[in-house]
Amino acid sequence: MATVAASKPENKLRLLLLEEKGAGQDPMVWEMDYDGQTLPGDPRHSPEKLHEWLAAKKIGPAESHPHAEAQMARQLEELARSNRELEQFASIASHDLREPLRMVATYTQLLAERYRGKLDKSADQYIDYAADGALRMQALVQDLLALSRVNSGNQPHQAVDGNVVMAEVLRDLEPAIRESNAVVQCAKLPVIRTNRANLWQLFQNLVSNAIKFHGQEAPNVSIKAVPAGPLWQFSIIDNGIGIARESHETIFGVFQRLHTRAEYPGNGVGLAICRKVVETYGGTIWVDSQLGSGSTFNFTLPAQEAQES
């Protein structure tokens, strides 16, 4: 466990990088712990946001300890820099992995094509395993890249009409909707302050999950949004297989899957992308669900007027 010492020992304020926080947890979570209170989040919390949080909790380092604030500012700056490096690392790693991976994937496919039936049964099987593994790794790298690209710093915040983006998403999901006889109802959605591509990712992942994870019955999905102070709260409600309480947090981690690929295909990155998008814009995402009785995925995003600055 690596500790980033934004620590004011008197107040036991710590910023931790939890490399491994037990089974099923997102391996890279930043947490701020102040006398048992926790700011959940991840590397994108800006120093400003952390300061705001401290102010809201009435933790004012400046009053009691003149040196503490300067020290903390420095450490938060350090944290922000290390976060930027982490983002770059993910992006570079996935870019540079793609090229050698393409060699492995194409040549195992070529082996399979040219030598199937010419070696022995085991050899055919081994080649298939290798080819399958390479293909899956390509999909994983692709998804990691998508995850690392969610970054508010690179994308302008703008007024985005939720109805327009949702209509696009539903048009793209038309084949899946038809195939599963899904009924999707969408109430009028607000205009919010976000980024169009990010909102598309968010809607796309949540609605396609709502369709994908269905039981015996055909999927029935409804989408709505209600105002919640300076935010809008969106809900995507389905009648699917539901999620057990103990998994409500872990499903938002990277590469977290509750089912085998044979049951439900996917890499377990969709909800991690959703969380990253939502938190990038200062919102939160959570699920209300019970095993066997549908799920409601909720998230909040700032209303259009909320952050004009």
Binding site: A105, T106, Q109, L110
Partner: protein, 156 residues
């Protein structure tokens, strides 16, 4: 076209060169595929200098832009600033899908940009589609008859 098309592949990855050769091995066009693995050899080949004095000027160049030191771009810009070589269509064939690389290639005069597919079947069909388009549909500048010396199979 009653003589076989001449294609120059410029790529420093032997695995990709093999895949391109495999892609074109059994097509109806029977293209002659020549390969060079760096910018200097590519330019010597195109200008028919040094050991390439007897080669035929290619009808099409398949150019990997990610050569060492980004020299693929150098080959492209030198070709497109040469009065004769600029007539030869250049297909940028690269593993990069970045908007910056794509834009830069078209700005430098690439005739088209194709990202190397990561799937074998798509790789084969992409290379065959390039051959099919340039030699089955597109009309190219006529090759002068004296530009067809005896065919030497140079592959390096």
């Amino acid at each position: 076209m009653n003589q076989s098309p001449e294609i120059l592949v410029v790529d420093d990855n032997p695995a990709d060169i093999t895949l391109v050769r495999e892609s074109l091995a059994e097509t109806v066009y029977q293209s002659h595929v020549h390969c060079t693995s760096d910018a200097n050899h590519a330019l010597e080949y195109l200008q028919r200098q040094g050991k390439y004095r007897t080669t035929v000027r290619p009808d099409l160049v398949l150019l990997d832009l990610n050569l060492a030191e980004r020299n693929g771009h150098k080959v492209l810009s030198l070709m497109k600033s040469d009065a004769e070589l600029r007539q030869i269509p250049v297909v940028a064939f690269s593993s990069s899908a970045s908007v910056a690389d794509i834009t830069r290639s078209y700005e430098a005069g690439a005739n088209c940009y194709v990202t190397k597919p990561a799937d074998l079947k798509r790789f084969f069909s992409a290379v065959r589609a390039i051959e099919e388009f340039w030699f089955g549909y597109a009309v190219l500048p006529r090759r002068e008859s004296n530009e067809r010396p005896s065919y030497t199979n140079s592959a390096d």
